[in-house]
Each structure stands twice: as C-alpha cells, then as structure tokens.
C-alpha cells in the first residue's frame, strides 16, 4: 500500500522507539504489574504496523522478510514448550515452576510486597517466549494482508 506524507513519516520515526520500549517493559514485568506476554507483544506489533502504514510496503519488505518472521515465531513457540518440558526433568510435573526458591538466576522468594524481576521463577522466561511469538505472529498477519491487497488484478480461477 502507498505511504503517507512527510509529517506522518516524521512523527512515526519519533514515536516508534518509545512504543518499542513501552512494549518490552510490559513483557518483562508481567509477573509484577498488569501485563505479560500477549499484552506487551500486541503493543510492539502495533508499533511495527504504524511503520508499515506510514511507509509503503516495498520499503518494509526490503528490511523484513516473511521467512524471518516465520523463524521467530517458531523459535518463540518452541522455547515455550521446551521450558514446559524442563519442568518434568527438574521438577515434579509438566509446567511446574522449578526455578523459584533456588538461589540461581530467577530464583528468590518474594517477601511481602517486595518482589522484583528476580523472583518469578520461569514465568519471566515464558513471558519473553510468548512475547516474541505474539510480535512475529500479529505483525505477519498484517504484513501478509497488505501484500495480498496490493497485488493488482491477479487472475483467479
């Protein structure tokens, strides 16, 4: 689809890093404040769609290819399932939180009201995996639709 005017392009350039940081903040602090994998991923995907709408489709398609999006999506989903599988080997059942309570990375016991990013167990890691998958998935949907619409007058049987 065609791009928009210079004012829109400049405003999108300025606001894109802030949207990105805000979305990553929501993903990373999902176990402390409202947020999490899906919410933060949707915010980052909205920022990417803002860039897609402001510039035209060819400019974006020179920088982000569809096969890269597919690989990111599969990586996010695979790391989520592998983290759940590790619950069997190190913990007691599937999906069990085997990192909380130990003194390693992401261990630590949350005291009353004094939790930080280090006390969640495997929940922050799963938030990152889901966030990666949601970013790649939601942006791929809009990207493919934009490509499909901009192909002109293809002969369909």
């Amino acid at each position: 689809m065609k791009g928009m005017s210079t004012i829109v392009k400049t405003t999108a350039n300025i606001s894109f890093p802030f949207i990105l940081i805000y979305g990553l903040y929501l993903i990373a602090h999902g176990h402390l404040t409202p947020g999490g994998g899906f919410q933060g991923g949707a915010v980052v995907a909205s920022g990417l769609v803002l860039m897609l709408v402001a510039y035209n489709t060819e400019w974006i398609s020179k920088r982000i290819k569809e096969s890269h999006l597919s690989i990111f999506e599969s990586l996010g989903a695979l790391s989520f399932v592998i983290l759940a599988f590790l619950g069997i080997i190190f913990g007691t059942a599937f999906f069990s939180n085997f990192l909380v309570g130990t003194e390693t990375l992401f261990g630590g016991i949350p005291l009353n009201g004094a939790a930080d990013i280090n006390t969640g167990g495997i929940i922050p890691l799963m938030n990152f995996a889901v966030g990666l998958k949601v970013i790649a998935g939601l942006f791929a949907i809009v990207y493919i639709m934009a490509h499909f619409i901009s192909k002109k007058e293809e002969k369909i049987a």
Binding site: S74, V81, F85, G91, T92, A93, F94, S96, I156
Partner: protein, 525 residues
C-alpha cells in the same frame, strides 16, 4: 526402568504435548526436504498412538487417572480446586482412540493425495495442531480448558477446510464453519461464566459435587446442549456440515469426523457427569429430547442424501444420518436413568442402547472415513466430483472399488461388517422403548443402502467412458491408508464381543455411574 516409569507417569500430558511440539517443529523441518517432513509427521502421530494405547491399558486396569499440571502437591486447598486437571476415564480414552486412529490414517493418506500441491508445510502444521486440540478436548477435566481446546480445533479445521483457496466455494465453506462455530463457542463461554459465578469452581468434578438445580443452571444446561449439538451436526443446526465436509480435501473430511464426535462427547459429559447428581430433577425428560433430535437427524439426513448429485456432499449427508443413531441410543438410555422410579436392573435395555451407541461412535467414524477416502481417490484420479460425469471406473481402479463395497456394506449395517453389530444393539433396545422408533431407524438404514447402491452403479459400473481411458490406480500411500481402515472394519465386524466387553462396557459404566468421576475429590487425594 526408572526412565520408563518417569515417562509413563507423565503420559497423560504427553498425549497433548507431543503433537503440539511436532506442530511447532514442522515449519523448521520442512526447510530440509519434503520427504523428511512427511516421515516426521507420520512418526509423531505414530508415537502419540502408541502412548494412547499404553494409557488405555492403564485406565482399563486401574480406573480413572488424574494428572495435575504444575505440581504434584494437593490441588484442593480450603475447599477450592486450584490447578488444571486432566481426568481420563474409560469414555475419554475411547474417544481419544477414535481421534488418533483417524489422524494417523489421514496423515498417511495425505502423502499421496497432496503430492503436487503448494503450501504443504502449513497443511501439516495445522493437521498436528488439530490433533492436539481434539485430544485435549476429550482428555480434560476442567471446563474452561475444554472451551480453549474447542476453539483451537475450530480455528485449525476452518483453515484446513479452505485449503484450496483458488476455489471460491471452499473458502466460503470455511467461512460459514468458523462463523457459526464462533457464535456457538461464545455462548458456551457464557454458560461457563454462569456456572463459575455461582459456585466459584471450574473443575468438572468439583462442580458436579456442588451443583443444585437453580434457574441459572437450567439456562446453562440448555445453552450447553444446543451449542455443542450444533458443533456436532444435529438437525436443525446441521447447515454447515454438508458444505464443510463436501468441499474440504478428503483427508480433512476424515479428521473432521473425529472433531464432530468430540463435540458429541461434550454433550454426554455435560449431561451425565456435570449434571449427573441432579438429572432426575427436571420435569421434561431430556432423554426424550435426545431421542427426538436423533430421529429428526436420521430422517432429514437420509432424505437429503437421496437427491444429491455431488459425490462428497452425498456422503456428508450420510454422515449426518449416522450421527442421529448415536443420539437415539443414548437418549433411550437417559430416559431410564433419569427416572428414579425405574431402576436400571429392571430395564436392561437402557444399558444395551447405550452400548450400541458408544460402539456406533467408532463404527461411524471408520465407515464414513473410508467412504470419504474413496471419494478423494476418485477425485484424485479423474478430477471430477459430480455423479453425472463419472462412470465405468471399476475396470481401471480395482482396489478402490473393493474398498467402496466394504464401506457400503458397513454403513448400511450388513453382516459381517461392524455396522451390523452396533445397529442391531440399537434396533433391539429402542424397540422395547417404543416400536415406532425402531421401525424408523430400520427404514432409514435401508434407504441409506439404496442411496449408496445407486452411487456404486453410477460411478463404478456401467460402460467405460472415453475420457477415462488413461485413468490409473491411485498411489500406494492412499491404498495403504484405505487398507488399514478396511481391515479394522472387518476385524470389528468379526469379533464385536471382544471390543464391547473390553472397550465399550467400561465407557458405558463410566457414564452411568458419575460417582466414579468424583472419586479423587470425595475420597481424598
């Protein structure tokens, strides 16, 4: 041995997670080679089938298994159940067996059927996702988890129905399916919220223990039965079924039968287990409602099948008629069970009717599946679907003709195929409830036989047409898939007693006695 015990104790979760893991690995593996990906998909489904058989043996030996996600500690704290639970009893593992047989055969069939098509890696990913959704639907013991797996199965199957996006009709059938499915699923969520708001529990066992039949519970029951029967293809909510089955690729019609029957399992689970303690309270008899719905489905399905001229659409209407038999038998059983005055021991035909129905679930899946595969083979060889343009194919496609004869005999209930055993049980027991029901069932079976003999004569017999001179037999993988199902059909037909005493009777006992489902809750964990 320690490793084997570890794997077996986590087997209920692995049944759902292994197809899920395979679905996420397939886009990466399909970059290597086509053949490696096909072997990988068939391998994943084969491993899942082995696990289903092992868990089935464990359930039939020791009783209901429960598996808690997240920890092995107590799940009941301060009288609330706090984690998600998989609860596998005999009926669940029976439905899981049906689903995994259909998915495994469909993946073998797709190797030959989709050889020259594009977009195959997405097809296999969605097929594995749909299998995970179907298995999760029948194995879970938590209402909201059931809703999530219903949606997973609907989304995956809608995308697969519209696989041939260059044909307008296939995309329209997929849109119709997802539209109606979404409205039904939203109303199921509304009913789940009604139950959750009153009793503060989402676990099926905990809800069954604490349910009283208030006014909101009646509304929730009606919504559950209507929405789940709509996804199960019962008349008058069957409008999506002929389009979806008729325009999807043939292996997808095969797996869709499994998804439809998982929704019918949902109706039974809600009626017999969730409302099991209060099913004798309502003034109207839900058993007679199920019997009436089954009768209407049979009649409408067979009458609409007689006037079709498209091959797969006709088989789809035949599938609708067969689903009516399942409701008929279970409804007959429910009229006796819900009546506290008459006990089961004084009316043994109720248990016989339910046995016939549950046995008919697997027979119907196998028979209709074999017929769909034959239709797919004819389409692959000749690229024609309308019955007016086909003819004289028996000379070129010998094996396909034999498989069609086996499917024809099985779906009409002719010995020695498996349809005879289940239909005889249903005829005998519904006759004792009311003779007219049995007469209508026998008549619709005879009309179905007439319809399929007409197809046989018009497609396979008759003079050889000029344009079909160089039609060859279909590739080997499709023949192997059809052969597996045909041999299971003949085996079930020759030894029905083996299947009924080992697989069907525990399932019927699990339905009739809902207190077995609550044993982990009331007997202490």
């Amino acid at each position: 041995m320690n490793f084997i015990d570890l794997i077996m104790s986590h087997a209920p979760a692995l049944l759902v997670v292994i197809p899920l893991l395979g679905a996420f690995l397939t886009p990466l593996i399909s970059k290597i080679n086509d053949k490696v990906r096909n072997i990988f998909v068939i391998g994943i489904l084969g491993v899942t089938a082995v696990f289903v058989l092992l868990v089935a043996q464990q359930v039939l030996d020791t009783g209901t298994i429960t598996y808690v996600f997240g920890s092995s500690l107590q799940t009941v704290q301060n009288n609330t159940v706090i984690r998600i639970l998989f609860e596998i009893d005999a009926l669940s593992i029976f439905m899981a067996l049906v689903s995994i047989i259909l998915a495994f055969v469909a993946s073998i069939y797709s190797w030959g059927f989709l050889e020259k098509e594009t977009g195959q890696d997405k097809y296999y990913t969605l097929l594995l996702l749909m299998t995970a959704g179907m298995l999760g639907m029948v194995l879970t013991g938590d209402l909201f988890n059931f809703f999530v797996f219903i949606e997973i199965t609907s989304i995956a199957s809608a995308a697969l129905i519209a696989f041939w996006t260059n044909k307008a009709k296939a995309v329209e059938a997929g849109f119709k399916y997802i539209f109606i499915s979404t409205i039904g699923a939203l109303f199921i969520l509304f009913a789940i919220a009604l139950l959750y708001g009153q009793y503060n529990a989402l676990n099926i066992a905990k809800l069954a223990d604490s349910i009283t039949f208030t006014y909101l519970d009646k509304i929730a029951l009606i919504i559950f039965i209507s929405a789940l029967a709509m996804k199960g293809g019962i008349v008058p909510m069957h409008m999506w079924l002929p389009d979806a089955y008729g325009r999807a690729p043939a292996p997808i019609s095969l797996v869709l039968v499994g998804a439809t029957q998982a929704s019918i399992y949902g109706v039974f689970r809600v009626l017999f287990t969730l409302y099991g303690n209060v099913i004798h309270l309502p003034k109207i008899s839900f058993g007679w409602i199920l019997v009436l719905l089954g009768l209407i489905t049979m009649i409408v399905g067979v009458i609409m099948a007689m006037i079709q001229t498209d091959f797969k659409r006709l088989i789809a209407y035949g599938a609708v008629a067969e689903l009516g038999y399942i409701f008929l038998g279970v409804g007959t059983g429910l009229t006796i069970i819900a009546n506290p005055d008459i006990g089961i021991s004084s009316a043994p035909f109720a248990v016989e009717a339910m046995k016939g129905s549950i046995f008919h679930i697997i027979n119907d899946a196998l028979d209709v599946g074999l017929l769909f595969m034959v239709a797919g083979a004819v389409y692959y060889a000749t690229k024609e679907t309308s019955l007016n343009n086909l003819g004289g194919l028996a000379r070129n496609m010998k094996y396909t003709t034999i498989f069609f004869i086996i499917g024809l005999l099985a779906i009409s209930g002719i010995p020695p195929m498996n349809g005879f055993a289940s239909k005889l049980l249903i005829y005998e027991s519904t006759y004792q409830l009311n003779p007219i029901i049995s007469i209508i069932a026998i008549l619709s079976s005879i009309m179905l036989l007439a319809v399929f003999v007409k197809i046989f004569q018009s497609v396979f017999l008759g003079p050889k047409l000029k344009k079909f001179d160089d039609v060859k037999e279909v590739p080997k993988s499709m023949l192997i898939a059809m052969g597996i199902i045909a041999s299971i059909i003949i085996f079930f037909g020759l030894f029905p007693d083996l299947i009924i005493t080992n697989l069907v009777e525990p399932a019927v006992n699990a339905l009739i006695h809902p207190e077995n489902y609550l044993q982990w809750l009331t007997g202490g964990l």
